[in-house]
């Protein structure tokens, strides 16, 4: 692990260097308290002094430093040139004006009132500039694909072309089963593709295999497979693509349409239609076939179902001259061209029966289906005898699918998919980094649309795995083994399941970890720290947000507020607002966090202890959090904090949480202003004066150091 | 006010004897014995599975005794009943005209002959007294109004010779607060035990009955003497006699004491 960047502080003593003032000592203590090396120089505004700074910085191996001096030593001074000469970059210095009266006027440099606070803030910023060292990480170039058919084969083909190995576990015996929704051409394409791929040495097919276990994390999974011969073996894989979906059932609701020779699924009907002669044999020979199509009679149907029904109706009328009635319950129309398609089949003579409150009742017979229903527009009972009824499908309560989800470490959503209800997961990401979802597994029941996902998933997996070596940033998330109690909270809260367990204790997989900090905030042992975002830093930022000027003790205190801003949403929004010229309200201090999930409940409590009057947490909207669930965890904590504050006698309205989107620059400053207004109305934090007096008195607390050592 | 409570108030020295219900269904001998004892004492105290050994229900025995006109103190233990069972037993006692209750924690089950039984102790004796007072006020512990409230003179037990004594006294004070009118001490060995105890309980406002037990025939003379001493000392409000091994001899013991 790389050592953190080295920082330093240079303090200019002015021209004489003589007696140290108390204020100067306070500067030194401030820097020392944060464990930063302090160098004292004289006359950094002059050539000689600047040269000394450059030399010391080079000798100390510093990556960055703060120069606390008068404006004469600032950017216009001689230091930049000296740094160049010493082979260092002038950007490494952060100038901090600490001197009230530059040398010359009084012959002595006076440290500004509040200089220590300014230095404290500068140190916080400097410490947060963590630049992680990147390293190469070995990843597996084998990919596991679950499923069969065109979707799985296309994905496998993509990986094989990219030079990866593919482990393909198919639920059935065939690599290229029929593709009813895509018709005969797709079936032919899949068959050809299967033949082509089977020849590849880098493809390993496990027909009727079962995935028993997926251990490890992105880039370095270990899969345990049970094959058809009940043999168990393991492979290392870098990523997993799930292209199969849950088993489905007919969406018949309470109509009595049970699967049978005369009641089939729409997909099956399409499959039959691909061979009309074959289809004819399934129906009574004489007369015009009468076919009913049903969509959304149970739960609401997807646009795909209606589209399939229309396609089937077109085929039935066109190819077989059938008499078709389309029964619809609740169905989504939100799909391009669906309106046109329905108009088209209406034109072909297909009868539409729409149900709002009623449902048909079916009585299946060996030679057909009798359907009785209440026609809501006509307002009367009707009945129809049909040769065949085809019903749309919805995911069924599939235990096997739930079992697979468990093995993959994912949850089954209400639509049967494994994808979190989150815009940032779209189109193919899952809640486990390195596992990609396609087709029904991602909620896309529309196969053509699912085929579009193949490219996305390939790109995602390739970005993750690279060419067998991935560049990762090391040391962003540190787990202190001595503190860790192996409670697994971090493993459970990590939105991307990046916490791997090696050597018994959790460790963040840098390939999967986004350093959102949710784990650090939830860790009950404070064992996890995010580099540059550690608890100490936030403690200091909170401390620095409280005005410590002695004059504040006398004047009526201004309201002071802290804004925690998520770097993914509130951060950009606030930056854009500032660029647009919105003024920043006084008394409000901004603290950036990588995700609202990083806001530890302790930070909020510290803030109120320190005397801040209000805290505003600006995160993403819950279903748009860039770390998927970071905002969700933050929301849990906000509720908890309200209770804690109430219990402690602090008005919980002082804590405000809001969701904001990155493009809401027009609104975000209003949010801050409203929060500030609310805090204004609530009055001063009762702890404010106490905290200030305590801090003010600390200035006069004698610290024993060598300067004060008693002679002798 | 029960006859026994009246006696506590009026008499200088009350006398109770303890009777164990039979270990079986033969109740007649007990009824006969009680018939002989009742006129000679202020109350018959019916024990409840004494020593954590099951016997015929104390409530059933006490009901029969009360029916034949005896003044009865019904013992109920917290060991065998939860608050529901205690409530119904107390109500049954009230309905049977039993006006006195002695509420005790009860010896632990491991001291009896069913050591594997599950001990209840849902309430402790202080809380059981509270329950009886609540019932007497016309409500049960859930606050439901009773269809007719019982009325009890309540008693509790104390180990006067306990070491350390102060924790016993703290609890005794709670018992008095909770509604105990009289206190029965565990069997005493000598007058000294009682002297120390009584000095500390004088202010509690409860009547103390000195417990005296003849565990085997050899102790009989000693108990007779001790009773005389206690009575003479004027320390307590009365005495409670028991002969667990041979309660049929209780009349003879009373003879020997000249009572």
């Amino acid at each position: 692990m790389k050592s953190p960047n080295r920082h330093g502080v240079f303090l200019c003593q002015g021209g004489h260097g003589g007696q140290e003032s108390l204020d100067f000592k306070r500067l030194r203590w401030t820097a020392e308290a944060q464990g930063v090396p302090v160098f004292e120089v004289t006359q950094a505004c002059a050539q000689e002094g600047a040269a000394a700074v450059a030399r010391l910085a080079a000798e100390g191996g510093l990556d960055a430093f703060i120069l606390g001096a008068c404006p004469l030593a600032g950017p216009g001074g001689p230091l930049a040139g000296e740094l160049w000469r010493a082979g260092l970059k002038p950007e490494m210095v952060q100038h901090l004006d600490l001197c009230q009266k530059p040398l010359g006027q009084t012959g002595q440099c006076l440290v500004m009132d509040g200089g220590a606070l300014a230095l404290d803030q500068a140190l916080v910023v400097q410490a947060a500039r963590f630049q992680p060292e990147s390293r190469e990480m070995e990843v597996s170039r084998r990919v596991l694909v679950l499923g069969s058919g065109l979707l799985a084969l296309k994905a496998a083909q993509g990986f094989l072309l990219g030079g990866y190995k593919v482990l393909l576990i198919t639920p059935g015996r065939r690599l290229a089963p029929p593709e009813p929704l895509l018709g005969l051409e797709a079936k032919l394409e899949a068959t050809a593709l299967a033949r082509e791929l089977e020849a590849s040495e880098r493809l390993e097919v496990v027909p009727r295999g079962e995935l028993l276990r997926l251990a490890g994390s992105a880039g370095d999974f270990t899969v345990t497979v049970l094959d058809r011969q009940r043999r168990r073996w393991t492979r290392r894989v870098g990523a997993v693509l799930v292209t199969q979906g849950p088993a489905t059932r007919l969406n018949s609701g309470e109509t009595g349409l049970e699967p049978g020779p005369r009641v089939v699924s729409l997909a099956e009907l399409l499959l039959w239609l691909s061979s009309p002669e074959h289809f004819r044999k399934k129906l009574p020979a004489q007369g015009q076939p009468r076919v009913g199509l049903a969509v959304g009679l149970g739960q609401e149907a997807s646009p795909l179902s209606l589209r399939v029904a229309c396609l089937a109706a077109r085929g039935l009328v066109g190819e077989l001259g059938a008499e078709v009635t389309l029964f619809t319950g609740q169905a989504k129309m939100a799909s391009p061209d669906l309106e046109e398609l329905t108009q088209e089949v209406r034109g072909l003579g297909v009868v539409f029966v729409k149900f709002d409150n009623h449902r048909p009742q079916a009585s299946p017979r060996p030679d057909g289906v009798g359907l009785r229903y209440f026609e809501e527009i006509l307002g009367r009972e009707l009945s129809q005898d049909l040769d065949l009824v085809a019903v749309d499908e919805v995911p069924g309560p599939d235990q096997a699918w739930r079992g697979l989800a468990r093995v993959l470490g994912l949850n089954v959503a209400r639509d049967g998919s494994l994808q979190p209800d989150q815009v940032n997961a779209l189109p193919t990401a899952s809640a486990r980094a390195g596992v990609f979802l396609l087709g029904p597994a991602s909620g896309a029941w529309d196969l053509p649309a699912a085929l579009d996902q193949v490219g996305q998933a390939l790109a995602g997996a390739r970005a993750l795995l690279g060419q067998g070596k991935a560049r990762v940033e090391e040391g962003r998330v540190r787990v202190d083994r001595r503190r860790c109690a192996i409670c697994l909270t971090c493993v459970r809260v990590c939105p991307r399941q990046a916490m791997d367990r090696r050597d018994r204790r959790p460790a963040a997989n840098p390939l999967a970890c986004t350093a959102c900090g949710t784990c650090a905030s939830e860790c009950p042992m404070e064992a996890i720290q995010i580099a540059g975002q550690d608890d100490q830093r936030f403690a200091r930022e909170i401390g620095a947000a409280v005005s410590k000027s002695p004059s504040g003790l006398l004047a009526a205190p201004e309201r002071e507020m802290l804004v925690f801003a998520c770097a993914n949403s509130a951060g950009p929004a606030l930056a854009a607002a500032r660029l647009a010229g919105r003024p920043w309200p006084s008394g409000v201090r901004l603290v950036r966090v990588p995700c609202a999930g990083k806001v530890d409940p302790a930070y909020v409590l510290w803030a109120f202890q320190q005397g801040l009057d209000g805290v505003l947490v600006l995160g993403c909207y819950e279903d748009a959090c860039h770390s998927l669930t970071g905002g969700t965890w933050a929301a849990y904590r906000a509720g908890h904090l309200s209770r804690l504050l109430t219990e402690a006698g602090c008005d919980p309205r002082r804590l405000i949480s809001s969701g904001v989107a990155p493009n809401m620059h027009a609104q975000v400053m209003d949010m801050v202003e409203q929060a500030r207004q609310r805090v204004e109305d609530l009055g001063a934090n009762p702890l404010k004066t106490q905290a200030r007096v305590r801090d003010f008195l600390s200035r006069f607390t004698v610290r024993i150091d060598e300067t004060y050592a008693i002679a002798g | 006010m029960s006859k026994f409570e009246q006696a506590l108030a009026d008499k200088d020295f009350v006398l109770t004897v303890e009777l164990d219900p039979p270990r079986g269904v033969a109740l007649a001998p007990l009824l006969e014995l009680a018939g002989r004892l009742a006129p000679r004492v202020d109350a018959l105290v019916v024990s409840d599975n004494r020593g954590a050994m099951p016997r015929l229900s104390a409530l059933a025995a006490a009901t029969r005794l009360a029916a034949q006109g005896a003044e009865v103190v019904l013992t109920l233990t917290c060991r065998d009943m939860n608050r529901l069972a205690l409530t119904s037993q107390m109500l049954a006692a009230g309905a049977a005209g039993i006006g006195n209750l002695l509420l005790v924690s009860g010896d632990y089950v491991s001291l009896g002959d069913h050591p594997g039984a599950k001990p209840v102790y849902d309430l402790d004796s202080v809380q059981a007294l509270g329950l009886a007072v609540t019932l007497a006020s016309g409500r049960d512990l859930a606050g439901q109004e009773l269809d007719g409230a019982p009325s009890f003179c309540l008693g509790a037990a104390v180990a006067a010779q306990s070491d350390p004594l102060p924790p016993q006294l703290i609890k005794l004070k709670k018992k008095a607060q909770a509604g105990a009118r009289f206190i029965v001490t565990q069997p005493l060995n000598g007058l000294e035990e009682l002297q120390g105890f009584c000095r500390q309980t004088a202010t509690l406002g409860v009547k103390v009955l000195a417990g005296l037990e003849v565990a085997d025939p050899g102790q009989r003379q000693g108990v007779v003497g001790l009773l005389r001493e206690i009575r003479g000392s004027g320390l307590v409000a009365g005495a409670h006699l028991s002969m667990p091994a041979a309660q049929d001899d209780l009349p003879a013991l009373l003879d020997a004491c000249g009572l």
Binding site: - | L111, D122, A159, S162, P164, P167, I170, K171
Partner: protein, 226 residues
């Protein structure tokens, strides 16, 4: 921590009698600390069972596995493959761990190898003492940090019963009377007034059985209304 003790060997042997391949599953947390169900004890039990079955000439095999905690599904997942090779799982975890193991692998019979005894403290190597009954209504603030619920056999809440003998319990002359200890502790702290108020009967059923506890921060996550 939770303390458990190994069941009688005959009982374990009888329970395992119907199975040919038994996996003894230890637990690396509480039962390991109380020297009852950790990896070592699991190994000893497996060796002992193996010895017993070989002496009887039975064709049986016993294997050992140990997970960090049997009361966490994540750790039980580690056994997924091993379990397939066995006819029965003999768990040395506390009752909670055994149940989760059985829930995680419903197709394999799970046998209990230990009796969970109490929540207690580590007094010395090989010596544990009960200190808590998880009664959900802690009185320790007023009782000087000595628990009458777990240390008094009768669980008296208002003071000692009449069975105290020289500061010992009526059930066992070796056992300290909890209420004597409480009295001494409070007298030493000069806080005897703690005992003056009558303690109301305990609420045995406020939240019903079995227990379910939600951290206040996650009420929203687990509340039934959402």
């Amino acid at each position: 921590m939770i303390v458990a003790q190994r069941k009688d060997f005959e009982q374990i042997k009888a329970a395992a009698a119907d199975f040919r391949k038994v996996l003894v599953v230890g637990c690396g947390t509480c039962v390991a600390v109380c020297l009852t169900g950790g990896e070592k004890e699991a190994g000893i039990l497996a060796a002992q069972l193996d010895l017993a079955s070989q002496i009887k000439g039975e064709e049986k095999s016993f294997a050992v596995a140990c997970v960090e905690r049997q009361c966490d599904l994540e750790f039980l997942d580690e056994l997924a493959e091993t379990v397939l090779d066995h006819d029965a799982l003999l768990s040395l975890a506390c009752g909670a761990g055994i149940q989760l193991l059985a829930e995680r692998y419903p197709r394999v019979p799970v046998l209990a190898g230990v009796d969970t005894t109490f929540i207690g403290i580590n007094r010395d190597v090989g010596l544990w003492e009960e200190r808590c009954r998880a009664c959900r209504s802690c009185l320790l603030t007023t009782t000087g940090g000595i628990c009458p619920v777990s240390l008094c056999p009768k669980g008296m809440l208002n003071g000692p019963c009449g069975g105290t003998r020289q500061g010992k319990c009526e059930t066992d002359p070796e056992r300290d009377c909890a209420w004597s200890l409480i009295y001494e502790r409070l007298a030493g702290l000069d806080r005897l007034e703690n005992l003056s108020a009558i303690v109301a009967p305990r609420d045995h059923g406020a939240r019903g059985q079995p227990g379910r506890q939600v951290h206040p921060a996650y009420l929203r996550r687990y509340s039934a209304h959402e």
